[in-house]
Subunit: 336 residues, 2 copies
């Protein structure tokens, strides 16, 4: 049988385990051009919280009793597509389930020789690509600029800071535990970092850390940290809005200080993006990212929940509350 | 003698007439390369409110007892620069005074044959250029898109809407009196308009007026009107932040709903700008704008305060409170 996690209820505030159901379904049968895959690692990501809402989002939201959306690292079990054979390791978008079928065109092969296969949904997958295109294409990062990253110990933020370092930039990050701060400072080489839970005046803190201002802000978090960036932006500063995780689980919308005035005085830009916009260039970016990983220029950490598919809801909720360092995964099965 | 308006006090909230002084000074004498000009029309503009603050702005602020900054239409009285002679009509940046000297390179000749000379600080001056570059370069307007303009009956907004119409776009504007709404509908040809003082739910109003969403929002106002744009933006929408006049005279900063989340789902961009960024292209744009004015494709209205330089503070305060339709000017002297 194929065990799946489906949406049981639309969450109010943080999701609860009771917002999900564990159900069983037959293992699907691939048709011509399709491939049956078995999930090895499930990726849980902040964007999935938005898909649980009724409200309009950028993609169709999950309906009641539908399988939760998501990307996985999977092993090909049976292939009816010429490009794949049993045993291949692939990135697939089959959602929170143990088995799924997908068209061959929807799969991306993962090279087990380059890095552990789990990176196929991490630094060498969607989060890594999000960091790469968000920083370089949306943020238009130039060598030697100053960069601030929120959610800096997460799957995306940790890569953003390291790419900025590769580009010769001064990088400051913020995260929500001292352990995360130590990680990005000591292991990832950020120039500075602070635990936002131990700082009251973020505006003053950023002024201290960026005496000449911020060229690029890569925002995963939103809220009060982001408010503090605008007075500290440099002229022609850029703000890449990747996520707003501080806002996803609020029971009622938050208000904050108005800041658009700063954009005039700084001639600055804010831009939201999705990694899917850059799909045509994902392969090219993965070559570059793979080289950096291989050469030790990009490091990564994973937080892997054990316990199979039934552990996914708790792992997802933990990630939304900041329980992870680096990429949050759920181990579903071992490769054969 | 040369009568001048200087800064007497930094305003709290809306400026008062007592925040300004009327003083007398000798008429200055031009040196080699300089030109002495006599002010005919003084332009009063929203940005000047920012210059009255102590807080950092994009340009040096006005100090106590300094002449208020501003652009004028002036007549050359005495020239020590080869390109100018007595009687020439020019645009100069000498501030709120009856006479001033400026280097020849700081002056721009106004062609009295093209349009009334007062347009040199209006539709064929800084406000017109602000509309042109803000809409076409910052907003990246494409033919046939949907456009929303706040402050739509003002010196900038009224031009924004008309350029958008020239580009085949559907244009909606908002303004603060029924007279202004009638003006932009009946005289300027906007597709729709509303008096924001008569509407409660701006989000619903914009949804009604833009059933398929807003491609470009040109913002002169900020505040609640602007809040309502984000839920109504189209995918890849652009927001050009030109001004935030609703925020300039607040005694304490306002809060509003957080909206950056929408930028992700819409992959949208917000960008602030100053017309001075496009200085190298002002001449080219003025040729185009002049043709449109000559051909009747761009209409304009002026609100001219009489009473000379001493009328400037009241005219400025009135403009900040929305008393003007089109460009707010102060008539200082008649051409010789």
């Amino acid at each position: 049988m194929n065990r799946q996690i489906t949406l049981a209820a639309r969450p109010v505030g943080y999701p609860k385990e009771s917002d999900f159901n564990l159900v069983e379904a037959p293992i699907p049968v691939p048709e011509d051009g399709q491939v049956l895959v078995k999930t090895l690692y499930l990726s849980v990501d902040p964007y999935m919280r938005g898909r649980m809402n009724q409200a309009r989002s950028y993609a169709a939201n999950v309906e009641f009793n539908e399988v939760m959306v998501g990307g996985v690292v999977a092993e090909v079990v049976e292939s009816k597509h010429a490009d794949f054979q049993a045993g291949d390791i692939v990135n697939a978008h089959i959602g929170w389930q143990e088995y799924g079928v997908a068209g061959g065109g929807e799969l991306r092969k993962i090279d087990p020789g380059l890095a552990p296969i789990s990176t196929g949904v991490g630094i060498l997958g969607m989060p890594g690509l999000t960091a790469y295109f968000g920083l370089l294409e949306v943020g238009k990062l130039q060598d030697g600029e100053t960069v601030f990253v929120s959610g800096a110990a997460g799957a995306v933020g940790s890569v953003v800071g390291q790419i900025a370092k590769i580009k010769g930039c001064r990088v400051v990050g913020t995260a929500g535990t001292d352990e995360k701060v130590a990680y990005i400072l000591d292991e990832l080489g950020f120039n500075a970092a602070f635990n936002y839970k131990n700082v009251n005046d973020y505006t003053a803190k950023l002024e201290e850390l960026f005496p000449d201002g911020i060229d690029v802000y890569f925002d995963n978090v939103g809220g009060r940290i982001t408010d503090a960036v605008f007075p500290n932006l440099r002229v022609k500063g850029r703000v890449a809005i990747c996520g707003q995780i501080s806002q996803y689980n609020l029971e009622s919308p938050e208000v904050g200080p108005r800041f658009l005035w700063y954009l005039i005085t700084k001639r600055a830009r804010i831009e939201g993006f999705l990694v899917t916009e850059f799909a045509a260039r994902h392969a090219e970016a993965l070559v570059q990212m793979g080289e950096w990983v291989r050469d030790g220029k990009l490091k990564y950490r994973e937080t892997i929940a054990e316990g199979g598919i039934e552990a996914a809801p708790a792992a997802f909720i933990s990630m939304l509350k900041g329980g992870n360092i680096g990429k949050q995964l759920v181990r579903i099965a071992e490769p054969s």
